[in-house]
């Protein structure tokens, strides 16, 4: 099975590129429509088909979880028999542990995306701005709710393409070339092993997007690491924790930070101890399944000690459970 996953910012041209890639390679395009049709054939109805951020809505949770599970089953099934181009749906996480897969993120400047959306849908600028923001927000929520992952984490992808100065068909050709290089086994691998490569794509926080962090305490912690000149990566890896009887991942965990020089994962929690049990359980499970991985939980008290005299207001910044 050949797999190319494409995640895109709304208005970046990612969908058009996915069509080009599918046409040129003969891979089956898996997008929302294919999934809806496929699931409908199995008699599974989508709880709310217009909803981009499935799983993010309140209520009807059981129904939505079932749908998401069915959707993942459907994609995995399809992948066994076909080569796929998967558009969105957290494809890079679904096939994260399948090394031949190529994971692509398509991006463009916000203003450029608004401009394209205005042109494509004949919208006024205000409406287009709102639409782009809503759609991006939906994607963030989807990955957060379904995979507990950060959509803005570019380390989920092998290739990031900025389409601002690019003809979309050229972008598709680039992806196809990248896929061929990536998927073809070569006898001599150039460069250091993957672990070291990841270190090299460390993005200095000043250049990272301001909204990268899911919680103010994480941003504060990153500032502190910068202060002491400790290299870090934000949510670089997801660990699978639970599988259902058919081998589908039903629980995963992405620790907040990885410190490459310490080879240490760090999870922060500013929840009160009685609320942190879920996170503690995940960490225990992770230690069982991945005994060679070092992970440290910094709890509310530990975090406050770190910031001793610092002014951040922890009570206001208390996080939701995740």
């Amino acid at each position: 099975m050949g797999i190319i996953t494409i995640s895109r910012e709304f208005g970046s041209g990612g969908e058009t590129i996915a069509h080009f890639v599918a046409d040129k390679t003969g891979f089956v395009l898996v997008n929302k429509d294919t999934i809806l049709k496929g699931l409908a054939e199995h008699g599974i109805e989508v709880p709310n088909p217009d909803q981009e951020d499935l799983g993010a809505t309140e209520g009807k949770k059981g129904q939505e979880e079932q749908y998401i599970e069915a959707m993942h089953d459907f994609i995995y099934d399809l992948a066994i028999r076909n080569d796929l181009v998967i558009l969105g749906r957290g494809g890079s996480i679904l096939f994260r542990d399948y090394p031949p897969a190529l994971h692509v993120r398509v991006i463009a400047q916000f203003t450029e995306r608004v401009r394209r959306v205005m042109r494509a849908y004949g919208l006024a600028s205000e409406t287009a701005v709102r639409l782009v923001k809503e759609k991006d927000r939906g994607k963030i929520l989807y990955l957060r709710q379904v995979f507990n992952a950060n959509w803005n984490n570019l380390r989920l992808y092998d290739l990031v393409l900025n389409t601002e100065k690019m003809v979309l068909e050229d972008a598709a050709d680039l992806i196809i070339t990248a896929y061929r290089i990536h998927a073809e086994p070569r006898e001599v691998k150039d460069g250091p092993p993957l672990g070291e490569m990841e270190d090299r794509v460390f993005i200095p926080p000043a250049e990272a997007e301001a909204d990268q962090f899911m919680h103010p305490s994480e941003e504060e912690f990153a500032h502190m690491l910068d202060f002491y000149r400790i290299r870090w990566q934000y949510e670089p890896r997801t660990f699978f924790l639970e599988w259902d009887s058919e081998g589908n991942v039903v629980e995963a965990f992405s620790p907040d930070f990885y410190l490459p020089d310490q080879d240490l994962f760090i999870e922060l929690t500013t929840q009160k101890p009685r609320q942190a049990w879920k996170k503690n359980r995940k960490i225990r499970r992770m230690k069982e399944l991945y005994p060679d991985i070092s992970i440290r939980l910094i709890d509310k008290r530990g975090f406050e000690s770190l910031l001793k005299k610092h002014s951040i207001d922890q009570d206001q910044g208390e996080e939701d459970d995740n």
Partner: protein, 181 residues
């Protein structure tokens, strides 16, 4: 005034008494004297918390040594969150080819000590070791070598014997757990 309250309040719970501290420092002084006998030793006190410990430790030592001090900026003391750690007061002595023992009041996250050790190491000392009165392993983020330690303490906030809360409580002769207001 609020800040002038006497120290003997119910926020303090004594963990180590004056006698226990004295005994422990005696042991450390003896061990350090034995380990560094015949070597050119510089004790580097990390300001400000370590001064009480450093003074008492040196009184228990029976070998010659030099003393110097170093001070670095702390994350919790900076006005904004954009700076990086730097040395506020550097050593006056050269430590190249000398045996250096860094004396700390407390090692917890290892973040500041980690930076300090990287910095001192670049000056090519003959050896670089660490002695701390209090060690809080439960809060460690960065692994740092602790060669001599007085007391292991769980994940609680401690004051006294050089350790402060907002500059208070340093002069207590015992070490106490402090429940912050």
């Amino acid at each position: 005034m609020k800040d002038q309250k006497p120290y003997e309040d119910n926020q303090l719970k004594i963990l180590f008494t004056q006698e226990q501290i004295e005994e422990k420092i005696g042991e450390l002084g003896k061990k350090i004297s034995a380990d560094f006998a015949g070597l050119e030793l510089i004790l580097v006190g990390v300001l400000r918390g370590s001064i009480y410990f450093l003074v008492d430790l040196t009184r228990k030592m029976r070998i010659p040594f030099a003393i110097d001090f170093i001070s670095i900026s702390h994350y919790s003391e900076q006005a904004d969150s954009t700076g990086v750690v730097r040395i506020i007061k550097d050593l006056d002595l050269s430590i190249a080819d000398k045996h250096v023992l860094v004396v700390e009041d407390i090692v917890d996250t290892g973040l500041s000590l980690g930076y300090l050790l990287r910095n001192l190491k670049s000056r090519k000392p003959a050896s670089l070791k660490v002695c701390t009165l209090v060690n809080v392993e439960a809060r460690r983020i960065v692994e740092v070598p602790v060669d001599y330690k007085g007391f292991d303490v769980p994940n609680v906030f401690v004051v006294g014997y050089g350790l402060d809360y907002n500059e208070k409580y340093r002069n207590l002769q015992f070490i106490a757990q402090f429940d912050r207001p």
